[in-house]
Amino acid sequence: MTVEIGHFALVLAFVLTLVQFTVPLVGARIGDERMMAVGGPTAVAAFALTLLSFAALTYAYIVSDFSVVNVWENSHSQKPMLYKVTGVWGNHEGSMLLWIVILAAFAALVAWFGRNLPATLRANVLAVQGLIGASFMLFILATSNPFTRLNPAPMEGRDLNPLLQDIGLAIHPPLLYLGYVGFSICFSFACAALIEGRIDAAWARWVRPWTLAAWLFLTGGIAMGSYWAYYELGWGGFWFWDPVENASFLPWLAGTAMLHSAIVMEKRSALKIWTVLLAIMTFSLSLLGTFLVRSGVLTSVHAFATDPTRGVFILGILVFFIGGSLSLFALRASRLTTGGLFHPISREGALVLNNLFLSTATATVLIGTLYPLLVEAVTGDKISVGPPFFNMTFIPLIIPLLIAVPFGPLLAWKRGDLYAACQRLFAAFAASLAVVVVVWFFVDGASVAAALGIGLAFWLIFGPLTDLALKSGVGNVSPGIAMRRFAGLPRSVYGTALAHIGVGLTVLGIVAVTTLEVERMAGMQPGDTMEVSGYTLRFDGIRPHQGPNFTEDQGVFTYFNASGREMGTIISSKRLYTARQFPTTEAGLRTHGLSQLYIALGDRLPDGSIVVRAWWKPLVLLIWLGSVVMMIGAGFSLADRRLRVGAPSARKARPAGTVEAPA
């Protein structure tokens, strides 16, 4: 019964989103306030209904109701409760349901917080959001219904894919979807602006918090996914340029570009058309990601063709929204007026440079991801575009951008002084150069790439620190006043600095682990030892262990530091999930500061020894801690006074920034 209520709630939500789409849109067109006002309550009600629907499915998972096909396929009565709940979105149907719950939640938030928006803008935003919601709800109801029953009900479920039975599944997809779907708001705002044919600095101010929030979640989602892959897959890679990863990285790159261009639009009324285009592209890339992952097209064009219903449906949604929004853009963009002028050497100029490099990087990753599909579709040949391609193209594109990062915040709006910025950054440059020299001469085994890469990372850390110091007047005023000025800086200044420092920390982690990693591999018998970067590992043997829904062989290691002191034991194991007869490796990890010792078990060799692989991963944790710092930066920017709820009231903000296009 609960399951049917969930199904029914989803149908109701679908119908409501149709109302949410049509009524406010017409209302905004003919200027009927009552019709426009329909958008808010329907959005909130649709959210409540999708939430009810999601709760019903979750309930079916919790009580292990195997009369529901979806639960039977992806759950097991012996599975720990956490994975019963997270298993709800650990499959196609459930994850799409989560997708629309989040979409509806964002629409409800606009309805709730958007009271100070101009009525027509709010109505149009909610209408576009309603249309997106309706499309995806129809997709679920028509092709991916999670509420389908099974009769007779089996006694036991088929269990969740063991790779997904991890805390990572609890955090990673929800965060990722919050990011993906969060960009739908920017998309809806862009479409609404195009429908109205009017856009101004106030628009950028309203859109920016949503962009920041979506970016924050997407950053967290990608970082979490990367860490999950790192410890779960068993050899400690953190980024693989896999198409599925690229699908999440593309909206992140485009969203990062949009965050920066929206600043120019808000402060200087320039780059309007470009910002609107980026808002459309970012969400389009989110949709493309959803399509690539959901349709199965990535495995092969042919795999896609064998069961095309879902794929074709999402492709339809994709074409409709991307095509529709771009047509709207083509029709209306000329109405948007261009804004303030600026000299190439200026804050605006720096942000345009940022956008040039980020967009090119986005396009490169996009083309690389789609090229094999294209070639296979056109010529029938199969080719591979893998990590070597992406490393060869993406890295050279991103390095100049990273070098330029510290200059941006030091240049003035309209016309900046590059020479003065260089002078101010001299100390940061000298310090980074010192780091290069220290790494080159004092770190054992350091290559040129390691030294320069680590220098670049420190440049990205020292640069923003210089900016903060200058803005609080360090050196010009007494330390007391500087402290007070520092505390009084706008939060967005901290936000910028922290986000850029976060990038520096991530770069530091990536460079350190790729250039200075130590790898050891050997077949080991109990009692054998292995030396890894100053630590000695002693293999104590294999012991069996019984988990709730798996059995495992645990390899027990005792490890000693360079002076022979015992540091503790590390357990690395191989698991077999009984329901699916699915083996996984559980790496043994030990953290020292920001570095990790990583041990994975391999197969048994003919002589009875076990293959053991051990890595010393220097500063590896910085890769993800850097992302956390970026997220904190986004949080600071989000808390800036000018973005706070109610700060830009509709009436006050408009006369100042509006440049109305002739109707």
Binding site: S95, W239, I367, P387, A449, G523, A600, G602
Partner: protein
């Protein structure tokens, strides 16, 4: 510089519907070459070659039987005195271009390799000319009358 990330995996990010296989580094100690220089070359080449039966993994990472055969083959060719290019050529002649994780510079792949360069140059050029033209237009915008007015205003102030 060593490749930034030299490994591929069974999809995990968003790992919801695609088949995920239990992946782990699969190079076994008994396959290693005794000469560390040659072994280093073999590792580098392995990272460039795709495991044909896997979901986007290099042969260096895959534990599939076919990947092991290829790893052994690469090492045999290296021991036989082949250069890196010769090894790659040999593997491609047997398995086709699909085996290469870095597509070769051929006419068919021209769009792939050229696009980053064209985009950055094209985008940069567009921005350069767009801003230059606009600046010119805007600068030329004051008419004589306006100039006069401006002068008056300035003198009055």
């Amino acid at each position: 510089m060593r490749p930034f990330v030299s490994r591929t995996l069974a999809p995990l990010l968003l790992a919801l519907s695609l088949l995920a296989s239990p992946a782990h580094a699969a190079l076994d100690p008994d396959e290693l070459l005794d000469d560390p220089v040659l072994e280093e070359r073999a590792r580098g080449l392995s990272a460039e070659l795709r495991c044909m039966v896997c979901q986007n993994q290099s042969i260096d990472d895959s534990n599939a039987e076919l990947a092991r055969d290829l790893r052994v083959l690469v090492r045999e060719r290296i021991l036989a005195g082949d250069s890196d290019a010769e090894v790659i050529e040999y593997v491609v002649s047997r398995y086709g271009e699909f085996v290469l994780l870095r597509p070769p510079f051929t006419l068919r792949n021209a769009a792939l390799w050229a696009s980053p360069v064209l985009l950055i140059l094209g985008g940069g050029g567009f921005i350069f000319f767009a801003t230059r033209n606009r600046r010119r237009q805007e600068v030329a915008k004051l008419s004589e009358e306006e100039d006069q007015k401006l002068k008056e205003l300035l003198e009055r102030g």
